[in-house]
């Protein structure tokens, strides 16, 4: 087939993980560390941080063909192998197995602004970054004005970029990358930056690139964007391709997958972190009559019930609610006890978190949950449950979906000239 620009046969990438059993990289740990500093309580030093070796296939048996001019979406949960695949395609890392044939140059917008030097001016950085991305100097010079105009930084060209606002920084970085003319353009979640008009401009630029007959590989958690940009979607799960079809089919399959994992026994989830001394076995969402619900009306009371495989004296539980595009909305932590919390009772499951009123707008939410014992992460499960919120009434005020305008309802009242 003459027009195949990318042909992967059985690609695999294998890592040996040496992970610390007690990590230090979660919000919960930051909070507890801050609290500890506040209270200045004396604590025993943290336990020994052991290292364990784990064999891990980030990518396994990936085969696919992409033709000239296709705009393909790569979809999958975090850790499904999308980034690893992109890194192999852009030659940053080498596969452990399989073979990849690429026709032409692949350039990635993996992280815009990589290689920017804060001390250099905007002008200097355009040349430096262009060279890093593989653009010859003549090409940069030819496109210089376009790049500057696109980024809207003309007045600040001779200012060191360390004095740029973050918006300007990102615009300049994206602008350079967007004027690359690779045969295969890899776009990884970069459109999440900048304000709305700039995002629109970026999308237009991508469509332009696509219209020039270039191939685009697109990664985003924004499923609406994926659907509007791409025709074809590839779904990765645990490093394997599980679906390669029209983008609508793939997105539907992806969403199904999220729900399917949410309804199953948590102990069967292979993808989890933590030492595992105690594990989460089930997460139920109940109404106040203890009836398990799959969807809840906004404004109603509900309980999150966490079942675990055991109990420990200092066991704590935390969970975070994410919206449908993967944005964290709010998080809860049982380590932050206060007086009204009743003492533990042997009859109830280890953790029940009760919300008096659900102040979320209608839509679909995902919950990640984790168990801790002091600083030790025992268990962490992604998408432990799916929470569907239906339209309802909170504090006598209707709560309706406001897509794109936030997902939190705040109790309020209006006073006006009536």
């Amino acid at each position: 087939m003459p027009d195949v620009v990318l042909n992967a046969e059985g690609l695999g990438k294998h890592y040996l993980l040496r992970h610390r059993i007690a990590g230090y990289d979660t919000l919960r740990e930051k909070i507890s560390e801050n609290l500890r500093r506040l209270t200045a309580a004396r604590r025993p030093p943290p336990g020994p941080r052991e290292a364990a070796l784990e064999e891990f296939w980030a990518l396994r048996d990936v085969s696919m063909q992409i033709r000239q001019g296709e705009v393909v979406a790569l979809i999958g949960r975090n850790g499904a192998g999308k980034s690893t695949l992109l890194k192999i395609i852009s030659r940053i890392t080498e596969p452990t197995a399989g073979r990849l044939r690429i026709r032409g140059r692949a350039a990635s917008l993996l992280e815009v602004g990589t290689g920017f030097h804060p001390e250099l001016t905007g002008r200097e950085n355009i040349f430096l970054n262009g060279a890093i991305l593989g653009m010859p100097k003549t090409e940069i010079r030819a496109k210089f004005d376009q790049i500057v105009a696109f980024a809207e930084v003309a007045q600040f060209l001779d200012t060191p970029v360390k004095r740029y606002s973050s918006g300007m920084y990102v615009r300049l970085a994206f602008s350079i990358a967007a004027h690359l003319e690779p045969d295969i353009l890899i776009v990884d979640e970069v459109l999440a930056v900048g304000d709305a008009p700039f995002q629109k401009k970026c999308l237009e630029r991508m469509s332009e690139v696509a219209a020039m007959g270039r191939t685009i590989l697109f990664v985003s958690h924004n499923l609406g964007l994926v659907r509007s940009m791409c025709r074809r979607g590839i779904l990765l799960e645990n490093g394997r391709i599980v679906c390669d079809d029209l983008v609508e089919v793939t997105v539907a399959r992806y969403l199904e997958g999220l729900e399917a994992v949410a309804s199953s026994n948590l102990l069967e989830r292979p993808q989890r972190r933590g030492t595992g001394r105690v594990r989460l076995s089930r997460l139920d969402i109940r109404d106040t009559n203890h009836a398990i619900k799959s969807s809840v009306e906004a404004g109603q009371a509900l309980q999150f019930v966490f079942h675990t495989t055991g109990r420990l004296p200092a066991l704590t539980c935390s969970f975070t609610i994410y919206d449908s595009v993967g944005q964290a909305i709010t998080c809860f932590d049982s380590a932050l006890q206060c007086d009204p919390d009743p003492a533990n009772n042997a009859d109830v499951p280890p953790f029940v978190c009760e919300l008096g009123e659900l102040f979320l707008t209608p839509g679909r939410y995902r919950i990640n949950a984790a168990l801790y014992c002091q600083d030790e992460l025992l268990d962490h499960v992604e998408s432990a449950a799916i929470l569907d919120v239906d339209p309802g009434v909170a504090r006598a005020r209707p709560v309706v979906a406001t897509p794109g305008y936030g997902s939190v309802f705040m109790p309020h009242r209006w006073m006006g000239p009536c």
Partner: protein
């Protein structure tokens, strides 16, 4: 596996960009050596220049003295070495002014020390680039060498001034200097490649490089002439490849040295070739892993 032609929006497929010739195919698989590495280095040649330019530009930003730091450092070191070895220890100067004897040796020594340190930190220092963008990794230590060559040329100007001050004119031997610079560069780059690749995986080598540089000043004939080393120890002493390089520099700049030890230079050349070849081999062998280990 589904191979589906995209339907409507892919009308562009029928009209590929004008003048867009189908590019060459590249195969990526485990352990495969890319035969086009040299070609690729050539394609990325501007990056050599840009990375070096960045490092030079950035190095003296927000400093008041700027590039004059190269001179200040050279002059202070020269004074200290001259006083300690020439005045206090009263070592022989082979009939040339002691500052000239010291400075002729400081040229290659400072180049070696600076370039080795920069090379070994270069991959780690550019870790964010390496883990996110592909380019031939050899460019990174390569541009560290260029930065130090620039410093070296500034020091050469200082040498010229110093020669004029002492009214000392070099003879025809100075023509050999470019060859000796090439020898010093090959030696340094070879060692630098080893340290860069090893530091990427084991940060220990950052300290080892610092150690080599610190001790090297004492075991190399920088502050003194190598003629103070007893004759029957000369061969052993010359196993330090810098001995040959430094003696060579003195020979070229200072109108020859009384009893030039030619075997020492030969040993230096041999070690430089060996280091450069093995350094390139090791770097090429490990560079595909850099993004994973850095």
């Amino acid at each position: 596996m589904i191979q589906r032609m995209p339907t409507s929006s892919a009308a562009a497929v029928a009209h590929p960009a004008p003048g867009h010739t189908p590019p060459q195919e590249r195969i990526i698989e485990a352990g495969r050596r890319d035969s086009r590495y040299l070609l690729e280095l050539w394609h990325y040649r501007e990056l050599f220049y840009f990375l070096a330019w960045r490092d030079i530009l950035v190095r003296y930003k927000q400093t008041a003295a700027g590039i004059a730091w190269v001179l200040i450092k050279a002059i202070v070191t020269l004074l200290v070495l001259t006083v300690v070895f020439g005045r206090v220890a009263r070592l022989p100067s082979d009939g040339v002014p002691y500052p000239l004897l010291v400075f002729a040796a400081m040229l290659p020594w400072q180049f070696f020390a600076g370039a080795l340190t920069d090379c070994s930190n270069s991959l780690v220092g550019n870790g964010d680039l390496i883990s996110k963008i592909y380019f031939p990794r050899l460019i990174v230590p390569g541009s560290a060498m260029i930065v130090n060559l620039v410093d070296f040329s500034i020091s050469c100007v200082v040498l010229a001034l110093l020669l004029a001050w002492h009214g000392f004119a070099p003879d025809w031997r100075i023509l050999a200097l470019p060859l000796l610079v090439a020898l010093a560069a090959a030696l340094t780059f070879g060692a630098g490649l080893w340290f860069a690749a090893l530091t990427a995986e084991y940060r220990d080598f950052r300290f080892i490089a610092g150690f080599v540089v610190q001790l090297g000043l004492y075991i190399s004939p920088v502050g003194f002439s190598s003629s103070v080393v007893p004759e029957n120890w000369r061969a052993l002493y010359s196993l330090n490849p810098l001995v040959g390089v430094i003696d060579g520099f003195r020979w070229a700049i200072l109108r020859g040295t009384p009893d030039f030890y030619w075997p020492g230079l030969a040993i230096s050349v041999a070690i430089a070739v060996l280091l450069l070849a093995s350094g390139l081999w090791y770097f090429r062998r490990t560079e595909r892993r850099f993004a994973d280990v850095i």
